[in-house]
Structures are given as structure tokens and as C-alpha cells.
């Protein structure tokens, strides 16, 4: 007779799945620290309604700290801003928040940050506004912009919440697993508030406006104006989610559409309409939030949307007609040849595209529009800050984090040339290449040299391709500040690749970071946190903007890093945006935001003496001092950002462009033409306007040049008194507690249906130095677990525990004569076991950089069970394990993507473990693979390597392969390898078999499709080699289909196959070499007779096969539920080609056969036949 109790293969599996339930909102998933910063102390400023926390380095710059920082000024100012806005914002909802809200000021990086988790009474903002906020919003009033916006979220989301704040959301789900029908079906549903994107973000903009801290700036108007005129607005469905519906700029478009809609409703229904939406939603939870619109206004939401759209369309069409009547002066995109579809008006453009796509033929208007937008965005999207080198040889343009530099003569450009190129791609002499430069930040050519200065990152920018692909470098502190780099162009020219100047402009980007690794490229010393370099005409000095504590200052430095001089010494939030030298090299023009005023100024390069060019209410920016002596800049008199020129001597202003979108960042070419950023609804484009076509309207009267010298001096010298905001040391304040109630239904393949209820909590102090989690579930399976993480030092230190009580049913068939051919003597028996599992664990995790991390861990566990005939639990096994893991990922951010595109994910682990079988009923030992096992040590090595390979579009490929690349097809290679150094108990063996995400969690980077054709956990052994090859293809991209609270983004298909096996140890065959124990199992007299199976040489006796194969396919639906939560679903069908043997209930019918098998070992007589397995997950991920 076989053993009467089932082995314990599933211990912990359910727990792991439950732990993966912790899937906090996107906002909450961020961490303050990309990596730890143990060199910082934290301080707090407490006001009546807020506590502001900020970092400060322990060692100063004078003490040799290269990364000295403090955000004290920003924190003091934030305290003032917060208390100022409190009564106004709370009054918007008549919801005066009693609890103090904590504001964490970040200053460890140079990137913009601003988000909140209202449940935690927690706002996080960066002191540094980063590089793109001015392009987005047009004004550098950063703290008022970000803090008021985030606090608007806090007030509105609290006031609009139907659920209590202690619950981040409620999780309901479960898994049904049927081993007879070979089906595993699961579902997960997160009950959340469902506030739509346009209301949440547009509302925060609007309430900032209503409370007096924001207004409909020209940049906001630009975003919506262009979107209306170019038929690019998010539709009623699209604006409910944060998804980028058509790619470019839809996030910002969603913000401003929501804001514009609120302004429209204000006119039509009154100031508080948006507030009323929230208050109505708070009355009771509803499946579809959008119903509140009709409940409040009496008009269905979609009808209101169409009304608003008609309103803005009429408004902007009239405005455009007015501009056209006066004469549009926009030029055209800097390309080598005109395209037929060049923007003239929406009808003309669409007519071209309709023809193009109807030839495909694509008759679906939605798809045709999407394809049009993609084609338009392919041309120069994010192309900005363009300029020519003084000698006219090089054209450079900021392009998605690089400067694309191309040797294109001005005359070869369609915009300027008298002889337009014939429209085909340029030859090799025109090839461009990219030099890393931070997104949207200025750069410059070095006069008199084939070289440039760019704004790069001290760590990540100059990692070469090899380093980026292996992650092999160490950056323990995690600082990656801006830094000015000098890059010779001749070196770059030798490395030309990837970027090409083609018929439609710049098309691709590539891994060109290693350009900065070449000899000759070097950082300019003493430029940490510097950006926006501008070279003096002498080619030796440069001016740049240096950041510190929410403030920008102006510095002049030699290219070798010597003779650095600060021209300003602000510490009050002043922001300097862009500078340029006068042709004689004596003066510098800059855009400066200071004390609520944004104007152009001229600094004396030697003394730092300053005088304003103008002093008015326009958002003046992007000064460029051209060789003709005029300062060209962008400003917004008339409501549209256009290029103007001002003569600094006569103060005469001329309007140079007259556009409907926006014209920014001007630069005059050596031949006197204008190149500038043109804002379109499908991207920033680099446009050119020939000098002969300059608009040349006298606009002197639009600007104010008159100011009182004394008043200006007072204004310039003004320092706000913030001394009343006194800091104290940070006290590890805790976030407001919040958790996730959980309800689970399901079985575990062998059990009856059951339910579990409980909750999971995640807590932390406000700067996330200390965090803890706890999970408690009660039911047929009950679990309590918890852990603590300390991030106050270089490695993250974790400790935790888990204790579970589980129950499961089992059955077996007793065969009296042990003869498989006689059935009448068989009797089915039912059984039920209770189990426990207890574990403690601890680890130290050290991120080496943003791709590579290591973890050293140790743990101990024990489990045992209680059968129906036991009154107490009996321990079965105790184990100790120590493990070292190395993880590399360069696509971690795509974890939940249906179609990860490119990159790799590698987990490599080594463990040393000790197991001791202590089950007294078996004499404290067990038999596995014919060996009597009691206590033993073993080593284990595991490898999981997942490679995502986008189908290439190389020109030499056959057309169908190139088409696959264009359609975003992806090849996925997933390999699992493992080796255990000796024969071990079944419960220590490596496992494989079909996985449902409800068991293992959802993560595209560790796919669950390995051996999907075989039952879960059915395959085991001490050596594993499995490879899975999948081919993935979008079925519908950007479907953007909404039904109530469900919003579907993409549908993706995948076909896949797995090959491999798990090999173990084989019992001895010779009767002289073994005896049989009480269960009839063979036991080797000499353990050395238990032979290790050799992979790919031996048949794996446990499953009876040399190799195993499966093939299958799946469909993934990428969607969100209730306007935000990822709610991804799938159906997978897989066919396992081999019949397999194994332990216990192999065929999944809940009955284990005790008939002696033909082989005469401890395995079951049952087999699982080749067949189809089906997996369904609704909201579980894939």
C-alpha cells in the first residue's frame, strides 16, 4: 500500500499568492528612495495643519561631500504655502481636514516629483521642479503649483470618498482549480472609489484655480487649443483613465481637458459643480462613478462632454480664423522634403491619411485615426531646443533625452532651402547621431570647435551599452545628479549610428550613452546639479544654471572647470530657465522667475550686475541673443506663445511668428533664419521659418519696459521672512494606518469550497526608512504573517514571520490485491488533514544600481500535520536555509505589461540548506527515490532568465518580418534552470507544472506559462532545465473601449511552447540492492546505489519521460477597473504531449491509487494522460 497521506507540495503556495495581493495604488507603489541615502538626516517643521519633512546631508560640501544637499528653504516655504492654502482649499468642499497632513520634500534627485496618498495623509514633492514643468505649465511657481495641486487631491479625494480612509480598497477574489477537468479559473476584484482621471487631475487643477493659486495659463490653453484644432482630444471614454490612449502627451492633455471641462461647467452650472460631483460620489459607493455627472447636473455625462467639445471647438476655430486673417507665420517642420500631408488644416491632413490608410485597407475610423497619429508622432516628437553651430555645419535638436546632431546644411532643409531635396532619405553624409542630454534641458555647441556641451547624468548617462545590459556597476548612494559634459563631435561622428535624418525626420533612438565613455568626452568639473549650459562666443567659458534647494543660480565657468563664479546667490526659490550670451560675450540674457514674476534679464558676465529687459505679466522665456544683436524669446501677449525679438538698446519689439499652437525656444541660424519649438497636438516639432517670412509686427506696445530703479532694486533684494517655521529633528512619524480588507473564495484542488477573510496592512514612517506589513486571514486555511523593513542603511534589512494552519481533503483507492487489472477489490477512502507551517526569515538587500540588486537571506521553517487520528500536530520537517540572490532587470517597470518590449530579467540564486525529517510515525525519516532520508545538507542553484526580444525592423529582413516588427510583435524566451546537490525529500525538490497567477502572483517578467500543459506542481526533481519560447502579438492595440467601470486598453495574443524536464535520483533496480519498507517502497541498502539521473541522457523516472513538451496559446486583455486599477485578464490553453507519472493523486481525480505500479517504486500507479489544460483569470493578471 502506498503512503496514506498526501505529500505536502502546496505548503506556502497559497500564502505566497495572498502576499502578492498587496498591490497598492500606483501612487503608493513609489518609494521615496530609488536607493538608500544613509548620508542624510531628516528634519520636520510642524504647523497647525501640516508637518513638512526635509532632508539635509550630514556632511557639508566644505567637509568634502560631493552630494551635499539641504531642502530647508523649500521646507520653510512649503510650510508657508501649505498653511496659506489650507482654508481656501478646504472651503472648496466645505471639508476642513482635522488630521495633520505630512509633506515630504525630496531633494535626492534632479527629477520632478509630486504625488499623494490621501489615506496616508501623505504628500511627496520634490524641491527640484525638474526640467519639463515650465514647458507643461508655462510658469515656474513650482511650490504653489505642485503643493496646491497635491493638497487639492487630498481634500477632494477625502471629501469624495464613499469608503473609509482606513481601507485603501477592498479585495475580493479566489481560484477554482479542478484537476479532473483540468481547469483553473480565478478572479480578483478590487473595490475602489473609481474617481475618473479627468475629475481627479483636472479637478486638482481647477480647485487650485478656484482657491486662487492657479489660472488657465497660455501653456494650458495651448494644450487644449492644439488638441481641438487637430482633432486630438481624448474622447469621453479615454479621459476616464490615466492610460496614454494615443501616446503623446495624453497625460497632460487629460489634466487640462479636465480643467477646461470644469471651467465650462462653472459657466453653465456654477462654481461648485466639480465639487458636487465628488460630494455626490461620497454618498454611496457606485460601480460606475460617471453616473454622478447626471445626478448633479441633470445632463448625461457624455452629452455634457459633447457640449463642452462644441464650445471649445467654436472658440478655438474662431481664434484660428483670426490668426489666419492676420497672416499665419509658422514656417514648416525642419525636414528634408515636404510631405503631402504637411499640416495646413485638419481636413487636408485627414484627407491624406484617409487615403493612405484606406489603401491598406483600414476602414475603421478609430484605427485610421490612431495610425495617423502614430505617423505624425513619428516625426520629431519631443524635438526641441534646436540650433545650428556657429559655422553652420551642424544642426542639433533635443530629442527624447538626446541631442540629435546632424551635418545638414541649412540650404538642404525644405524650410529654408531654395532647392528642396527630392524627399528621399539623405545619404551617409547626413547621418545624425545622438548625444545624451536630459529631457527638455538646454545644451549648446562650442564655438570654434566641433564639440558641444550637454546636460547629462553623473551616473546613468555614461554607462556604456555593455554596462547597461549587464548592470555591472556600483552606485550604492543612488545619486544621479545632473552634470555638464563636454563632447567632441568628431568622436561622436565616428560612432554614428541609430539616429538617421530621414525623409520624415528623426525616427529612432538608440543606446548611445557610451558616447560619453569615449576619450575626449568628459564631465566639466564643478558642475554638479548644473544644466542649461550656454557657451560664450570665445568658446572657453560657459554659463549654466546650478540647482540647490529649490533654487536656481547662475554660474560662469571655464570648460576645464576652473574659475567658477556665481553670478547670483539666491536661496529663495528663484528659478532661471535659459540663458544666452551677447555676441560680444560681455552680457548674458536669462529668463528669471522670482517673487511671482517671470521676465527677461541681462546679467553682466563679469560683475553679475543685473537689469530687467522687460517687467510685465507675460510668461517670458527662452531668450536667445542672436548675432544680429536682437534677443529672441517666447512670450504670450494675445494668449498664444509666439517668438518675439527685442532690441536691448532701443527696446523695440517685433513679433516674429504668428502661430496657432505655440512657438518656443527660438534660435537664429547663421543665415538668419529662425528655428524654434512648435507645439502641435502630436508632439513638439522643430520648425523653421525663413527670415523673409518673419511676421515683423511691431509689438513694442505689448510689453512693459518701464520700471522704477529703486523699486526694482527692492524687488531684487527682497527675501521672504520664513524664520517663523523652525525645524526640529525628524521623529519617525508614522503614516496614517491603512490596509486592504480581503475576502477570498475557492478551493485548493483537493479541498471543498471555502472562504477566507482578513486584511493586509502596510505601514511606514513618512520617509520610508521603516516599513512593516502584516497579513491575517481566517478560514479553512488561516494565515498570519508580518514583516519589517529598515531602509536607514545601505542594504535594506528585512525580518518577517509566517504561520499558517491549512486543511485539505484527500482520497485514495485501496487495492486489496495490488493488481491493477482487478477492480472489484478496490475501495475508495476519504481523508482529511490539518497542516501547519511556521517560518521566520530575514534578509539584507543591497541595490547596486537601478538594475542590479543582491539579497542575502536566511530562514528557518517547520511544518507538520494532524490526521483524523491525531489529537496534536506532529512536526514533519524542520529546515534552515541561507541564500544569496542576484537579480538583474532592465524592464522591471513593464512588470504588468501585456507585451513587454525588449529587455531582460534574470534571477540567480545560490542556497545552502539543512533539512531534518522529524516525523515520529515514520521513525523521523522518509524515503525518497529509494533513499532513506533523515537529516541532510544540500546546495541549490536556481536560475530564471527571461528575455523579451522585439521583432526587429532591419531593412534587409523579409517584408513580413519587418511588418511584425512594426506591429510590435515580440519573442519571449524564458528559461528555468536548477540544481540540487543531492537527493532530497520531495518537499525540498524543484517543482514545475502549470501555474495560475493566483498561485504565484502576476508578473509578465516571470511568466506563468512554463509547462502550462501539465498539472500544477506535478513535476519534481533535483535538476531542472526548462525552456519556453513564446511569440506575442498585439491583436488590438489601444482599443480604448469602456463599458461602465471597465476600460480595455489592449488585447494581446501569444503562442508558446515549452520543452525540458526535471530529473531526479533513481532507486536501485537490482533486488539485491534494496529492501522494501512498510509502504512497499524500495529502499537502497547502500545510498550510493541511488543514482542521479543525467539531464538529456536519462529518462526521468518520476514522470517517465526523456523530455516533456507542451504547446499552447493565450489571449491577454489589458484593462483597468474603476478608472485606475490595472485589471488584467487572460485565457490560456495548453496541451501537454506526454503521459506523466508522479506522486499521489497524479490524475487529479482526488483519489490516490494504492495499486502497486509496474515499476515497483514509491510513485503512484496513476498517470496523467496527454491533454488540454485551460486557465482563466479575470482580473488576476497573466
Amino acid at each position: 500500500m502506498r503512503r496514506l497521506f498526501a505529500p505536502l507540495p502546496l505548503l506556502g503556495a497559497g500564502t505566497l499568492a495572498l502576499l502578492s495581493l498587496w498591490s497598492p495604488p500606483a501612487e503608493a507603489s513609489k518609494n521615496v528612495f530609488l536607493q538608500n541615502h544613509p548620508d542624510l538626516d531628516w528634519y520636520s517643521i510642524e504647523t497647525e495643519h501640516f508637518v513638512v519633512h526635509y532632508p539635509k546631508s550630514r556632511k557639508t560640501a566644505e567637509e568634502g561631500n560631493d552630494h551635499y544637499l539641504t531642502a530647508e528653504y523649500t521646507a520653510r516655504k512649503a510650510s508657508k504655502v501649505a498653511e496659506e492654502m489650507y482654508p481656501r482649499m478646504c472651503a472648496e468642499f466645505n471639508y476642513f481636514i482635522k488630521e495633520q497632513v505630512h509633506i515630504v520634500i525630496l531633494d535626492q534627485s534632479d527629477e520632478l516629483e509630486g504625488f499623494t496618498v490621501p489615506n496616508w495623509d501623505w504628500i511627496e514633492v520634490s524641491a527640484n521642479p525638474g526640467s519639463d514643468i515650465q514647458r507643461l505649465r508655462g510658469r515656474m511657481d513650482w511650490l504653489y503649483d505642485v503643493l496646491v495641486h497635491e493638497y487639492a487631491h487630498v481634500v477632494s479625494l477625502k471629501a469624495a470618498a464613499s469608503q473609509a480612509e482606513g481601507a485603501l480598497y477592498t479585495s475580493i477574489g479566489g481560484l477554482y482549480s479542478d484537476g479532473v477537468r483540468d481547469v483553473a479559473a480565478g478572479g480578483d476584484w478590487f473595490i475602489s472609489e473609481g474617481d475618473p482621471f479627468f475629475w481627479t487631475e483636472g479637478g486638482a487643477e481647477y480647485w487650485s484655480d478656484e482657491s486662487g493659486y492657479n489660472w488657465w495659463t497660455p501653456n494650458r490653453d495651448r494644450t487644449i487649443r492644439a488638441s481641438v484644432l487637430e482633432d486630438r482630444l481624448l474622447n469621453y471614454d479615454e479621459w476616464t483613465t490615466r492610460a496614454q490612449s494615443l501616446d503623446w502627451y495624453d497625460g497632460e492633455r487629460g489634466y487640462q481637458q479636465g480643467y477646461s471641462f470644469a471651467l465650462y461647467l462653472r459657466q453653465r452650472f456654477g462654481n461648485d459643480t466639480y465639487e458636487q460631483f465628488g460630494l455626490e460620489a461620497a454618498r454611496a459607493w457606485r460601480l460606475d462613478w460617471l453616473g454622478v455627472i447626471e445626478d448633479v447636473t441633470g445632463v448625461p455625462g457624455e452629452e455634457l462632454y459633447e457640449d463642452w467639445k462644441a464650445y471649445v471647438t467654436e472658440k478655438y476655430t474662431k481664434q484660428y480664423a483670426g490668426i489666419k486673417a492676420k497672416g499665419e507665420a509658422a514656417g514648416t517642420e525642419l525636414k528634408t522634403a515636404p510631405d503631402d500631408w504637411d499640416f495646413k488644416d485638419p481636413e487636408g491632413r485627414d484627407a491624406f491619411y484617409d487615403l493612405k490608410w484606406k489603401r491598406k485597407p483600414i476602414t475603421n475610423e478609430k484605427i485610421a485615426k490612431m495610425e495617423r497619429e502614430r505617423a505624425k508622432e513619428a516625426s520629431g516628437t519631443y524635438s526641441m531646443v534646436a540650433r545650428y553651430s556657429d559655422d553652420g555645419r551642424w544642426l542639433g535638436s533635443q530629442f527624447r533625452g538626446q541631442v540629435a546632431v546632424s551635418p545638414v546644411p541649412e540650404d538642404d532643409l525644405y524650410a529654408f532651402g531654395t532647392e528642396a531635396h527630392n524627399g528621399t532619405a539623405f545619404g551617409a553624409e547626413h547621418r545624425s547621431f545622438g548625444v545624451p542630454n536630459n529631457f527638455m534641458v538646454g545644451w549648446d555647441f562650442v564655438p570654434g570647435q566641433d564639440a558641444m556641451v550637454v546636460t547629462a547624468k553623473e551616473q546613468s548617462s555614461y554607462r556604456n551599452t555593455w554596462q547597461r545590459s549587464t548592470g555591472l556597476w556600483v552606485d550604492l548612494e543612488g545619486y544621479d545628479w545632473n552634470e555638464i559634459w563636454y563632447v567632441p563631435l568628431d568622436l561622436a561622428e565616428r560612432k554614428e549610428r541609430t539616429l538617421r535624418w530621414q525623409g520624415q525626420g528623426l525616427k529612432k533612438r538608440g543606446p548611445l550613452a557610451d558616447l560619453l565613455m569615449l576619450p575626449g568626452a568628459r564631465p566639466v568639473p564643478n558642475t554638479a546639479r548644473g544644466s542649461e549650459p550656454a557657451m560664450a562666443p570665445d568658446g572657453k567659458k560657459m554659463v549654466f544654471v546650478q540647482y540647490h534647494d529649490g533654487t536656481a543660480n547662475l554660474a560662469v565657468i571655464n570648460l576645464d572647470g576652473s574659475e567658477k563664479r556665481l553670478l547670483t546667490n539666491f536661496n529663495d526659490g528663484t528659478w532661471i530657465q535659459r540663458c544666452d550670451w551677447s555676441p560680444d560675450g560681455k552680457e548674458i540674457a536669462c529668463a528669471v522667475f522670482r517673487n511671482y514674476q517671470q521676465d527677461l534679464y541681462i546679467f553682466d558676465a563679469a560683475s553679475g550686475a543685473v537689469r530687467p529687459i522687460n517687467f510685465d505679466r507675460w510668461e517670458d522665456q527662452d531668450p536667445h541673443w542672436a548675432a544680429d544683436g536682437l534677443i529672441y524669446f517666447s512670450s504670450d501677449p494675445g494668449g498664444v506663445l509666439n517668438i518675439y525679438s527685442v532690441d536691448p538698446k532701443t527696446q523695440q519689439v517685433r513679433q516674429v511668428t504668428n502661430v496657432i499652437g505655440a512657438a518656443e525656444a527660438p534660435s537664429i541660424t547663421p543665415k538668419g533664419n529662425l528655428i524654434y519649438n512648435a507645439y502641435t497636438a502630436h508632439g513638439y516639432k522643430t520648425y523653421g521659418l525663413a527670415r523673409a517670412d518673419f511676421y515683423q509686427r511691431d509689438a513694442t506696445a505689448d510689453f512693459n519696459f518701464v520700471y522704477d530703479e529703486a523699486t526694482f532694486k527692492e524687488y531684487w533684494a527682497f527675501r521672504e521672512d520664513l524664520s517663523m517655521y523652525e525645524p526640529r529633528p525628524y521623529q519617525n512619524d508614522l503614516m496614517a494606518p491603512a490596509g486592504v480588507p480581503i475576502l477570498r473564495f475557492g478551493n485548493n484542488a483537493l479541498d471543498d469550497f471555502g472562504a477566507q477573510a482578513g486584511a493586509q496592512f502596510l505601514g511606514s514612517d513618512l520617509i520610508e526608512n521603516h516599513s512593516f506589513w502584516a497579513l491575517g486571514l481566517v478560514g479553512g486555511d488561516s494565515i498570519v504573517a508580518g514583516g519589517y523593513t529598515n531602509r536607514a542603511w545601505y542594504p535594506d534589512l528585512d525580518v518577517g514571520f509566517q504561520y499558517g494552519l491549512y486543511k485539505f481533503n484527500y482520497g485514495y483507492t485501496l487495492d486489496d490485491d495490488q493488481n491493477a487489472n482487478t477492480a472489484t477489490d478496490r475501495t475508495n477512502y476519504e481523508g482529511r488533514n490539518s497542516q501547519y507551517y511556521a517560518a521566520v526569515f530575514g534578509s539584507a538587500s543591497l541595490p547596486l544600481n537601478d538594475q542590479l540588486s543582491t539579497r542575502l537571506s536566511a530562514g528557518a521553517n517547520e511544518y507538520g500535520f494532524k490526521t483524523a487520528s491525531d489529537s496534536e500536530f506532529a512536526a514533519y520537517k524542520r529546515a534552515l536555509i541561507g541564500e544569496l540572490d542576484v537579480t538583474f532587470t532592465n524592464i522591471g517597470f513593464q512588470s504588468f505589461s501585456a507585451n513587454p518590449r525588449g529587455g531582460r530579467n534574470i534571477d540567480l540564486g545560490y542556497a545552502h540548506a539543512y533539512s531534518d525529517i522529524v516525523y515520529e510515525a515514520q521513525g523521523g525519516a522518509t524515503v525518497d527515490d529509494g533513499e532513506l532520508l533523515d537529516a541532510y545538507h544540500y546546495e541549490q542553484v536556481d536560475l530564471r532568465w527571461t528575455e523579451q526580444i522585439p521583432m526587429p525592423q532591419w531593412t534587409w529582413l523579409p517584408r513580413f518580418l519587418k511588418e511584425a516588427g512594426r506591429l510590435r510583435h515580440t519573442v519571449q524566451l524564458d528559461v528555468q534552470g536548477g540544481f540540487i546537490s543531492r537527493n532530497v525529500d520531495l518537499n525540498d525538490e524543484l517543482r514545475a507544472g502549470g501555474q495560475h497567477p493566483a498561485y504565484i502572483g502576476s508578473d509578465s517578467l516571470r511568466p506563468s506559462s512554463l509547462f502550462a500543459g501539465y498539472p500544477p506542481f506535478s513535476l519534481s526533481g533535483e535538476t531542472v532545465v526548462i525552456g519556453n519560447l513564446a511569440y506575442r502579438f498585439p491583436i488590438r492595440r489601444q482599443l480604448n473601449w469602456r463599458m461602465g467601470p471597465l476600460y480595455v486598453y489592449d488585447i494581446t495574443g501569444q503562442v508558446q511552447g515549452t520543452a525540458g524536464n526535471l530529473w531526479s535520483f533513481a532507486p536501485p533496480e537490482s533486488p539485491d540492492a534494496y529492501y522494501r519498507d512498510g509502504y512497499g517502497d524500495r529502499v537502497a541498502r547502500n545510498p550510493a546505489d541511488v543514482k542521479r539521473e543525467i539531464p538529456f541522457v536519462d529518462v526521468a523516472h518520476k514522470n517517465g519521460n526523456y523530455l516533456l513538451y507542451d504547446a499552447g496559446g493565450e489571449v491577454r486583455v489589458s484593462s483597468s477597473l474603476s478608472s485606475g486599477f490595472g485589471w488584467n485578464s487572460f485565457v490560456r490553453v495548453a496541451y501537454g504531449f506526454q503521459e506523466i507519472r508522479g506522486y499521489g493523486d497524479v490524475n487529479g481525480d482526488d483519489l490516490s491509487q494504492t495499486t502497486e505500479n509496474a515499476v515497483g517504486d514509491e510513485l503512484s500507479d496513476e498517470t496523467e494522460l496527454p491533454g488540454v489544460r485551460v486557465y482563466v483569470g479575470i482580473g488576476t493578471g497573466w
Binding site: Y829, E830, A868
Partner: protein, 339 residues
């Protein structure tokens, strides 16, 4: 341990700033008589309580009271059955009109027989219950509150009685769980008139079957069998008067339990086809009692109560008090902490 020491040296003591009362939290009346049947939004209540039941009698299968035998001649029953429950109960006001709750019990039980000289005791995990209450109607001052209660009981507790070899009489421990789950729905209402309040409720529970370790199935030659407790209907009445911070109430409840079933598992999704009713497993139980609750603050209540059974029946499921209550008074005490 070294790791813990290391962590402690790296940490400053944490402050509890995050635990301030939040604006969203509903008003909670200070006294019991004015409180609705769900806890307000944002309130978290931890109830620590215990029951002690002492039985020296038992119900006959015909519903008559019977004392345990006096075989040792001491003038009283030889047998004393002590059944205690210690529970942690969590209530959370998840929404303005919604409450989630969860109760986790543990039991200490003891059976002494002075005649046989046996004294057997056990301690273990019981069956947890949880549910969702939804308030459908509410007025304040005076209060009217009408709710529904969707509840589950899960077979989480200890269900292995011990050795099978000697049969049911040789158990080495006490079963504290049916090993099965219930799903039920109840409706409750509370009305207030000045210092008086009256509360009543009625509910029905469907009890699901399950393989249970304590069910020793002999007909089908199984080690363990499938068991389905009888479904039940339960109703109760609770008048109350508030005197200052003290709420004084009375309880009366009646429960009708239908026939239990046992057998072996049938194939397929529905496993009950082979179950047979157990004769004598249905009956009616009536309890009455009283309680006092001291509303110390909004954050703290202390309660005491007692109840006695006045009608019952022996259903032969000893010691499963949840489906076959013994005959004896129950004394209870609770401490409710709210945040």
C-alpha cells in the same frame, strides 16, 4: 537576534502621529441606546470578550432536561462540562452605511467526571466568522436603524478529535469546529424612544457540507466522512434601557435547527448526493438572558451578560456547542476598544 539588535540601533523611536482621528469619521453617539446597528464610517473596534458555560445537565433527545448521573453518590451530577470561548472581534466602518466584521474565537474546554476520575481539557482555535452589514434605513434622535447582515462561518478550528482506533469514545481531544462553513443572511432593526430601545432580528443560515476529521464514517468503510450541519433559522429580541452611562438589556432568542446529514462524498461540483439525514438531529433552542453595558467613553465600553437555556434538545453532537448546545448557564464579559 543579532539582526534585530542591529535594526534597533539604527532606528529612532517612532511617533504615532498618523493615528489622529480623521475628519471622515462618522459621529458615534456616546450611549448605547442611541447607537445604530452598524459602527460608523472610519471607526475600528476591537472587542475582547469571553463566555463561560457550565453544564451539569443535558438535553434529552425528546427535549427534556436531564441531570448527569450521580454514580459516585455525592448528591450531585458526576459530570461537569466547562466550555469557554475567548474571542477577538474586529468591526470596521468601511462606509457610511457599511460595516465589515470578523470574529476569531479560541476555546478552553474541560470535561470532568468525578465518578470515573477523569479530567480532560483542551485548548484550541474555533470557527471564525465574518460578514458585511449594510444599513438600509436610518434616522437619528430618536434612532431607527435597519440593517442586513450577510455572514459567513468558516470551519477554521480544530476538528481532529484524536485516535480513530478505539472509536468515538476514546478521543484524546475536543473538537472545536464543524469543519464546515455556513453562509447566512439576517435582518435586524433597532428603534429608540427616549432612554428605551428595542432591537429584533431574524436570520437564516445555509450550512454547507464538508469532509470533517471528527466524523468517523463506518457504513462506507471510510476513515472520515462528509458532514453537513442542519441549516437554521434564528430570531431574537432585545429590549434595552439607558440609565446614564449604563445600558441595561434583556435578550431572548429562538433557534430552529434542521436535520444534519452525513455520508460520503459524491463526485462533481456538488458533493452532497450521498448524504443521509441523521435521525434526531433537528431541534429548537430558546435562550433568555440579560446584559449591562457601561459606556465609559466613545472609545471604551465594558459589558457583562448572562443567559440560560429554557428549551433545547439533545442532538448528539457533543461537544460541538455551535450545533448542539448543552444545558447550562453562560456568563459573558466584553471589553470594546474603539479608534
Amino acid at each position: 537576534m543579532l539582526v534585530l539588535v542591529g535594526l534597533l540601533t539604527l532606528s529612532e523611536p517612532a511617533s504615532a502621529a498618523g493615528f489622529q482621528a480623521k475628519t471622515m469619521r462618522s459621529e458615534l453617539p456616546p450611549v448605547e441606546v442611541e447607537r445604530p446597528l452598524i459602527i460608523g464610517r472610519g471607526w475600528l473596534e476591537l472587542g475582547l470578550g469571553g463566555d463561560v458555560k457550565i453544564a451539569r445537565e443535558y438535553w434529552g433527545d425528546d427535549g427534556t432536561r436531564r441531570e448527569f448521573a450521580d454514580q459516585d453518590g455525592t448528591g450531585g451530577p458526576d459530570v461537569t462540562w466547562l466550555y469557554t470561548t475567548q474571542r477577538a472581534a474586529i468591526r470596521y466602518g468601511i462606509a457610511r452605511r457599511g460595516e465589515l466584521y470578523l470574529t476569531v474565537p479560541v476555546h478552553y474546554v474541560r470535561l470532568t467526571n468525578s465518578y470515573l476520575g477523569t479530567d480532560t481539557s483542551d485548548f484550541g482555535y474555533g470557527d471564525a466568522s465574518f460578514g458585511w452589514k449594510r444599513e438600509w434605513y436610518r434616522t437619528d434622535a430618536p434612532l431607527v436603524s435597519i440593517i442586513s447582515d450577510l455572514f459567513f462561518r468558516v470551519g477554521s478550528g480544530n476538528e481532529a478529535a484524536g485516535t480513530l482506533i478505539g472509536g468515538p469514545n476514546t478521543v484524546g481531544g475536543f473538537v472545536m469546529s464543524t469543519g464546515t462553513s455556513d453562509l447566512g443572511l439576517a435582518v435586524r432593526g433597532k428603534g429608540q424612544a427616549g432612554p428605551f430601545a428595542f432591537q429584533m432580528g431574524v436570520g437564516y443560515a445555509r450550512c454547507f457540507s464538508g469532509v470533517s476529521q471528527f466524523v468517523i464514517e463506518t457504513d462506507g468503510h471510510q476513515f472520515v466522512g462528509r458532514f453537513k450541519p442542519g441549516d437554521y433559522i434564528k430570531a431574537d429580541l432585545n429590549p434595552m434601557i439607558q440609565v446614564g452611562p449604563l445600558a441595561i438589556g434583556a435578550d431572548a432568542s429562538v433557534q430552529r435547527r434542521f436535520s444534519a446529514q452525513a455520508g460520503t462524498t459524491s463526485p462533481g461540483l456538488y458533493h452532497d448526493a450521498y448524504l443521509d439525514p441523521i435521525a434526531g438531529s433537528e431541534g429548537t433552542f430558546v435562550d433568555v438572558g440579560g446584559n449591562v453595558v457601561l459606556n465609559v467613553t466613545r472609545n471604551l465600553d465594558v459589558g457583562l451578560g448572562a443567559s440560560v437555556p429554557i428549551r433545547g434538545q439533545g442532538l448528539a453532537f457533543f461537544p460541538l456547542e455551535t450545533i448542539s448546545p448543552t444545558l447550562g448557564p453562560t456568563y459573558s464579559g466584553t471589553l470594546e476598544l474603539r479608534y
